[in-house]
Symmetry: C2
Subunit: 342 residues, 2 copies
């Protein structure tokens, strides 16, 4: 028993029971999004009958689902039994909200992302994903098209701050390589913040089609190039003033990350910057909860990935030849930008 | 937006993200129990290597799993990286603890109990389980043998208080019928508290074998009879002084419950008592969290079951001819005994 707990209230089994049932909360939120419950609550009077009509669902099912969502903080139930948005559901679950995250449920709720958890004991025994090959980073894995198409809303709050950290006021001509570009929003943001920046997005070809659509939508397609292929195989070209590695290093073991960072170093002009965006837990690897928990996603979906604390990322950067490695936590987000100089 | 929230901090997407990943917590706890992690932590020094050896698992897998369990409150990680029990894991997850709940993960983590959540949107549309027939209450469903064999530790804290409420000091000869006896512990407790009580357990025959084993272990087998079959079809016999209906009514709609309670009423002597043990939410059906959330389990696993508030249970009792209906919440538990008099 850890020190300092002796004065606490006696433990109750509630936490154990709650963990064993936690999977219900994921399923309930996914079902509510799929049924369009949050539009119905935002649009209509909020009674069971009107929500059920909008969702083409049974009243028993809607009543139990909406009660469950209320218990868990993503709906409010008035004394008259009508449901309303909470501040959280209004901002992040109503599809009409500009900050809606509903689409990320399609990626995070993807059966391919959930299936490994059925075999988690086997994965812990083996120490790696039970997905075929290298798991989620298997070449041309179609989940990355879905990631690019659906996860942008989750990344949106990080885009502006990352752009500011990388540019640091720089306004002149510059070349930027966006490795594992995905939706492309990080590179596109650099092009928006600096009208003289030219961005090259690198990813699998089907993913880059999503990035190019986003570049067109942002009006920067004239300064947006595509480099299709694997970051480990394709010639980066260069030299670049900045190279972005967002949500990428965590998929690989440390030596693979160092190999990639050396290649990045070789494609930067002297003094150029590499910027990674990562879940960076504290050195204890058990705090804060969101970045630290991300290691579990890497255990289940990759052969050797991890959520690396700053000391590990800094060591990789230094081995690869970078200096002045520094962390820039993104406010109000679980992500951190870690930057090094070539 | 509900009133009173305007002064709160702006909402963050953390709750949405956490809900979409909550299924990881269920899988992690189930895997840790299956791998015997909590024995390893209780027995050994607590470093990754020794836990991995005990669990015959990889060090990468064990490190990430134990970090995840620490983040979510069921292990403690010391500054030197060694893992220890928290008060909760020592009491409820170490298999050597007399209050260990590890076995309930076998029932609650049963694939047959989890599978419906994959189709939750369809279930909400249909308003009933997608399991075959009547779902979990289909005749002879083998999950009830598993329930009887594994869920006793969860019910153990309720057994003594329920016995006290039902007996209310009564010490003379009495006959008790335990409907849906399962592990049999509730009826057995009556026989233990009153040496002149004679108990009849009613359940499917394969389930009653578990109850009879428990009656032998408690030394009350001479005063324990078995009545195999369906509570809706078998002749109860009687008259009884008390009839127990534990964890049963929630599987059915209100009219089915009334039908059964009428049959119960007819098998009681005048003044005899019927006692149900139930998850009883408040009238708002969204509090307290555990009893209120139980409606979701009934939606996914039954055709028409529910977590009934006291007003609904009292109405059923009254329709069936009972009077003096009263609720007796069990201290430190999410369960309530509701009793009526014939």
């Amino acid at each position: 028993m850890p020190p300092g707990n002796s004065a606490e209230a006696p433990p109750t089994p509630a936490l154990v029971f709650e963990m064993l049932q936690a999977h219900q909360r994921t399923a309930a939120l996914k079902a509510a999004i799929d049924l369009d419950v949050f539009t119905a609550v935002g649009d209509g009077p909020g009674d069971v009958a009107s929500i059920a009509r909008h969702c083409k669902a049974s009243e028993r099912g809607i009543r139990i689902l909406c009660d469950f969502l209320t218990i868990h903080g993503v709906l409010h139930k008035r004394k008259d039994g009508y449901y309303q948005h909470t501040p959280t559901s209004a901002a992040f679950l109503d599809p009409r909200s500009p900050s809606s995250l509903a689409s990320i449920a399609q990626f995070l709720g993807n059966p391919a992302m959930h299936e490994p958890y059925i075999h988690l004991a086997d994965i812990v025994r083996a120490g790696r994903t039970t997905l075929p090959g290298d798991g989620s980073v298997e070449p041309e894995n179609p989940i990355w098209v879905q990631f690019a198409e659906t996860m942008a809303p989750m990344m949106a709050p990080m885009v502006g701050p990352l752009g500011k950290v990388v540019l640091n006021g720089h306004n002149g001509p510059m070349r930027v390589l966006d490795i594992a570009a995905g939706h492309g929003l990080f590179g596109i943001e650099i092009a928006k913040q600096n009208p003289e920046a030219h961005v090259t997005g690198l990813d699998w070809a089907p993913v880059l089609r999503v990035a190019l659509d986003n570049a067109r939508r942002a009006g920067v397609q004239d300064r947006y190039d595509m480099l299709p292929g694997s970051a480990f195989e394709v010639d980066f070209g260069g030299p670049y003033d900045a190279i972005l590695l967002t949500n990428f290093l965590h998929h690989f073991d440390e030596s693979t990350c160092v190999t990639l960072l050396k290649k990045v170093h070789g494609a930067l002009r002297p003094g150029g910057k590499a910027a990674t965006l990562e879940f960076v837990p504290n050195e204890d690897r058990v705090s804060p909860p969101m970045p630290a928990s991300f290691a579990m996603t890497m255990l289940t979906s990759t052969a050797a990935g991890d959520a690396y604390p700053l000391s590990a990322l800094a060591a990789m950067y230094n081995y690869a030849g970078f200096s002045e490695v520094a962390a820039h936590p993104i406010p109000m987000s679980p992500h951190t930008v870690v930057m090094g100089q070539a």
